[in-house]
Symmetry: C2
Amino acid sequence: MAKFLVTGGAGFIGSTFCDSALAQGHQVLCFDNFETGDEFFLNDAKKTQAFSFVKGDIREFDTLKDTFQKFKPDWVVHFAANADVRRGLERPRRDLDYNTIGTWNVVESARLSGCQNVMFSSTGSAYGEPKVFPTPETCPCPEQTSLYGASKSAGEGIISAYCHGYNLNAVVFRFVSILGPRYTHGHVFDFIQKLRKNKNELEVLGNGKQLKSYLHISDLMRGLWVLINLNPKGYNVYNIGHDDALTVDRSISYIIDELKLKPELKYTGGERGWIGDSPRIQLECSKLKKLGWGTEYSLEQGVRDTVRYLIKNEFLLDRA
Amino acid sequence: MAKFLVTGGAGFIGSTFCDSALAQGHQVLCFDNFETGDEFFLNDAKKTQAFSFVKGDIREFDTLKDTFQKFKPDWVVHFAANADVRRGLERPRRDLDYNTIGTWNVVESARLSGCQNVMFSSTGSAYGEPKVFPTPETCPCPEQTSLYGASKSAGEGIISAYCHGYNLNAVVFRFVSILGPRYTHGHVFDFIQKLRKNKNELEVLGNGKQLKSYLHISDLMRGLWVLINLNPKGYNVYNIGHDDALTVDRSISYIIDELKLKPELKYTGGERGWIGDSPRIQLECSKLKKLGWGTEYSLEQGVRDTVRYLIKNEFLLDRA
């Protein structure tokens, strides 16, 4: 039994992680500002004695530090972030505040409380627009193309320096986009939103040919636990994603099939959906696979699962 | 004639840059908090009509923003930083504040004022402990080993995302350690300080075998101007350093020869001088050389020039 402090623990991925930790008999403290997370996702967790939560923001160092001091976690599992990649340019300080400074606040709080193990959800966007596909962890020094990728990459750097300087142990995962139950933002969400407003027409950002890898939340969870259970020393980076990739067009075909709609597709054009969008994301995950991990869900299942979940929990679409 | 806003413009490198810009007939505004910089270094600059300075700190966004708004620079040449690599672990928020958030403050101020050209002094330390020597700009995705390297790398990422998102143009230089007149911190400075206290014994951090490339300030200046004059569009990264490298021991031999001393050397041991110290720094600079740049000073000249300058300006040693 270990104690996990989960930042962003009320979000899509964080709350699923809380549930999986509780199911294994661990003690869990969820730290979340409930900005994009939702108490609804904690309904199961809240039934467990071993679960507690603090409403707090990782941008507030003192609150975070106090929470660490009181809970004394063995692990901090750090999901809290500004995950709105697309709108970075509208509010250019946001990624810095949440993802870079926020990550410093988290590891500094960990250090001060004596917590020695950190798991960090980084992103394939930290590779910018790589020239090598699938992209390995050791690809050439990337050039950042989005404030989001830059801020997460900066978070990685801080964690790495902490590992070297203060003997923390860290596992950094570079995630592709995650699909499945509790999914609340991203292209599937956006497309369904648009189709609720107009079922006959669907605006598609870019040319529909952007090729991206995704991963089902269930496959992600198994990957995270492989490394948490191994608890490797020092600083460790792993890509995590599916070998398969979907074009936006193929993804749309599954979505509209689930919804039984046949909208006319209107492309905004260009190979990027927005400035800083990576036209292709596909990660080389053999480093993680060597530890016995593999995917169980196809990307088609991932997209269809997501659509079905959102249809069943329509209030998530309403509140956005 | 162009307008240059130089952050850290009263420092070793910054003030030399101000002088070189003024000598070419440009208009220069120096922005410095005079924490490590010194008005003494601005004595020549202050004689020129085209020069002005603002005492301000890059951590204060509003001051910086106002300075940009009033001066309306064509270029911001961003040197201001916490350059105390070694003490990062004693004050772990310092590199984040000065080098990451400070750099965001600089590029955001540039953007808001309509300034489209940025030069940024990054560092070879951003490569952490690379496996390839000499290290090219495209070496494998580095692992940060110091808070300093992490914070400068994060600054690079922010600038890069700004170039992609807001059409800024940037030239990022990854510097080795710079030597020459106005040098006020680093190993030559530290050794002379120690020898003033005790000329018979010299404590050496590490085993004396750390192998590092340096560069004379005069060679650095010519390199910076090659790129500023070319004014390339988008985001551009260049290593800048000497092909030769010095062990700490060889460097000491030049220093004590200049000082005419023969101290006994006491090594603290280990291949790193301190945690986060890169035991070897040597940058592959062919990208810059292809543009016609090359070094004129040997590393021996660099070290000897530095020692002579410090002997002549002993007050710099006193104030530290």
